[in-house]
């Protein structure tokens, strides 16, 4: 039996390593994927002056509020405010057209008299409160003011997350200015000098990352992305494996295999061991590139301190088993490469989406959160995060490894039973 198994593994390795396209798919593409995605995600989180987002800025107010909003936006280092289009002063119509045509991501239009009207409105409100308290301080006749509107135009292609982020920042700035104006008006009306600064917020937020050792590296985009996209690459092994099985059926070699006195267990164990070796090689290649190549791209270095590599290797083995089980099932069910390749590729993308590779599970709808809990990619991702970000030990990844192994056992049993049934009809 060992000779048969050895020959099966040798055969699979020969088939794989003589297929240049397949090798590129298995090794080069995942590395490119991890490098590209990590670079993109890293730059999203960093404030790099070279990647400022241009915003059309139309200021009808030209007073203290608009000056402060502008100053805050410029201070953020994320935006470049554009006030002219084609060497002409910006108009609202021109700004709207430029944004809707996709030339700019967004435009902000501040209404005229924003500062003066806000000051009047605040003064009226303060007067009303003081009068209620028995202090008649009204300094002028009340006037009716219309609500002021800061208009923001967004390119329809702009992603909602980006839009919401900008809107909430502007909203926060305006609220801060309004409260500042209220404080100042109260102070003036009550006879103060009006010079006291209320700009400093009393409550601040501090992010505290749980650390068990003081020398641990804080989470960064590399620690997040390398496990997620490595997993994506590992599950992609479904595609070449299913093609390998479908090809055997179409070439006629499958007929020779099933008419030989060799059990399916031996035949498929050969494939399982070979593709597990490939999974591990993929994993080590990605780790190596992340460790050595990322610093050259000004990306944070992958932290592999302690026994992280060993723990991740164990988890990769079980994640690889789950992916291989799915690949074998797909190969057995499909009759042509035209069925298996697109289905396999799409299925991996769905598994990744459901598993939380792109969007965190906590941000998903209730239904999708339940679906995510049933996704092998989610189990594996949690295991990787336990190791990479939560400094987990082998005990903390045992549940994920167990689930992945059980998933493999269930899928492979189903696949072999299906194959048997298919041949008995």
């Amino acid at each position: 039996m060992w000779f048969k198994l050895g020959q099966s593994i040798l055969k699979e390795l020969r088939l794989l390593f003589r297929d240049i396209g397949g090798l590129i798919t298995l090794f080069v593409m995942p590395i490119i994927l991890v490098v590209v995605v990590t670079s993109i995600q890293d730059s999203t989180y960093q404030s790099i002056s070279a990647s400022k987002i241009p915003i059309l800025w139309l200021d009808h107010d030209q007073d203290s509020i608009s000056f402060r909003v502008r100053a805050e936006l410029e201070k953020s280092q994320s935006f470049e405010l554009v006030t002219e289009l084609n060497n002409k002063a910006l108009t609202e119509t021109a700004a709207k057209d430029a944004v809707f045509s996709g030339r700019y991501q967004m435009a902000i239009v501040l209404p005229d008299n924003l500062t003066s009207d806000l000051n009047i409105k605040v003064r009226q409100n303060v007067d009303a409160i003081l009068e209620e308290m028995g202090m008649n301080t009204a300094s002028y006749e009340p006037v009716t003011l219309e609500r002021k509107e800061v208009r923001m135009y967004f390119d329809p292609a702009t992603q909602t997350a980006f839009k919401n982020g900008i809107k909430s920042n502007i909203d926060k700035m305006i609220a801060q200015l309004e409260s500042d104006a209220i404080y100042k008006t109260f102070e003036t009306q009550l006879g103060g000098s009006g010079s006291t600064s209320f700009n400093e917020p009393f409550i601040s937020f501090k992010e505290v990352v749980p650390q068990t050792h003081p020398d641990e590296v804080l989470p960064n985009s590399v620690q997040h992305n390398v496990p997620a996209w490595t997993l994506f690459a590992i599950f992609f092994i479904m595609v070449p494996l299913s093609i390998n099985i479908v090809k055997e059926k179409s070439q006629g070699t499958y007929l020779r295999l099933i008419s030989s006195p060799t059990s399916n267990a031996v035949l498929y164990t050969g494939k399982i061991i070979t593709y597990l070796i490939i999974c591990l090689l993929q994993f080590y290649a990605i780790l190596l590139v992340s460790k050595l190549f990322f610093p050259l791209l000004n990306l944070p270095e992958l932290n592999l301190s302690g026994n992280k590599v060993l723990l991740m290797s164990l988890l990769t083995l079980t994640a690889g088993l789950a992916a291989i089980g799915l690949g074998i099932l797909l190969g057995i069910v499909c009759n042509t490469q035209e069925q298996s390749a697109p289905f396999g590729a799409t299925f991996v993308v769905i598994l990744a989406a459901v598993g939380g590779v792109w969007i965190p599970v906590f941000a998903m709808s209730d239904v999708m959160q339940v679906a995510s809990k049933a996704s092998p990619m989610n189990w594996a991702l949690n295991g990787y995060y336990d190791i990479m970000l939560r400094n987990g030990s082998v005990v903390s990844i045992i549940p994920e490894m167990g689930l992945l192994t059980l998933f493999f056992a269930a899928i492979i049993t189903f696949a072999l039973l299906y194959d048997k049934k298919k041949r008995s009809v």
Partner: protein, 250 residues
């Protein structure tokens, strides 16, 4: 000669099919014979071979090979038989030698025996110098010969061949047929399907004609020719028994 294969009332109806691919087939194949299983397209030849090789299961009935019943003993039967499928059942990117080592290992040929056997078979079939060339560089005739070797590496008692000479040149066909005759003389029972009536008439010691899942007649080629008035060849017998109607099936 005693029968090495006994087929007992085998019927096969595929799921979703309106008709039976095999209908109560009873057949005895003598040991040491070259048995031709002839019939038009869709007659049930390949289905019968697939059942005898343990690839698919019959709906009804059973069979015995060398006294071993098919019921629960398929692995033991598969150790005794060799299969040469109609397709080139080889890995195109592996060399002839690599293919043969792999398939030989599946049939429990020991590591020590494999190399001399492969070399010997390749030499007999004129392929020794192409031993380390990849299969996708081979001509149709060369692939057929490697396909044959893959089915006989373990010295089977019974060899099943599904149209082993289809699509090959005259030289390759002659080499294959001559080698099969030699194997038969050395004791291997051969069960063979073909559409080439002249080849079957010359090659087979016994023949069964099958159509619509039923065995019509069986006997030696001469017996069959004599059984049909004015017939001079197996082809005339075949036409007389199965008719001229096209047998396109889907």
């Amino acid at each position: 000669m005693p029968a090495i294969i006994k087929i007992q009332n085998i019927s096969k109806q595929y799921k979703g099919s309106d008709y039976q691919s095999l209908n109560n087939v009873k057949l005895e194949i003598p040991e040491g014979s070259i048995f031709g299983l002839l019939g038009p397209n869709g007659a049930g030849k390949t289905t019968l071979l697939s059942i005898l090789c343990g690839v698919i299961r019959p709906t009804l009935g059973s069979f015995e090979i060398a006294g071993i019943s098919s019921n629960g003993n398929i692995r033991r039967i598969q150790e005794m038989i060799g299969v040469v499928p109609q397709e080139y059942a080889l890995y195109p990117t592996l060399t002839a030698y690599e293919n043969l080592v792999y398939f030989g290992s599946l049939y429990n040929v020991s590591k020590a025996d494999l190399k001399p056997r492969i070399t010997s078979y390749l030499k007999h079939l004129g392929l020794e110098k192409f031993m380390h060339k990849k299969i996708h560089t081979f001509s149709g005739g060369m692939k057929r010969r490697v396909n044959l070797i893959a089915g006989i590496l373990h010295n089977p008692r019974v060899l099943f061949l599904d149209e082993p000479t289809v699509g090959v040149d005259v030289q390759s066909r002659a080499t294959i047929i001559a080698y099969l005759k030699q194997l038969n003389q050395e004791g291997t029972t051969i069960v063979y399907t073909s559409h080439l009536m002249a080849e079957a008439q010359d090659f087979c010691t016994d023949i069964a004609i099958i159509d619509q899942g039923t065995v019509f007649v069986e006997g030696t080629p001469q017996e069959l020719i004599q059984s049909i008035p004015h017939a001079h060849s197996l082809e005339e017998v075949f036409i007389a028994l199965t008719g001229k109607k096209l047998r396109d099936v889907v």
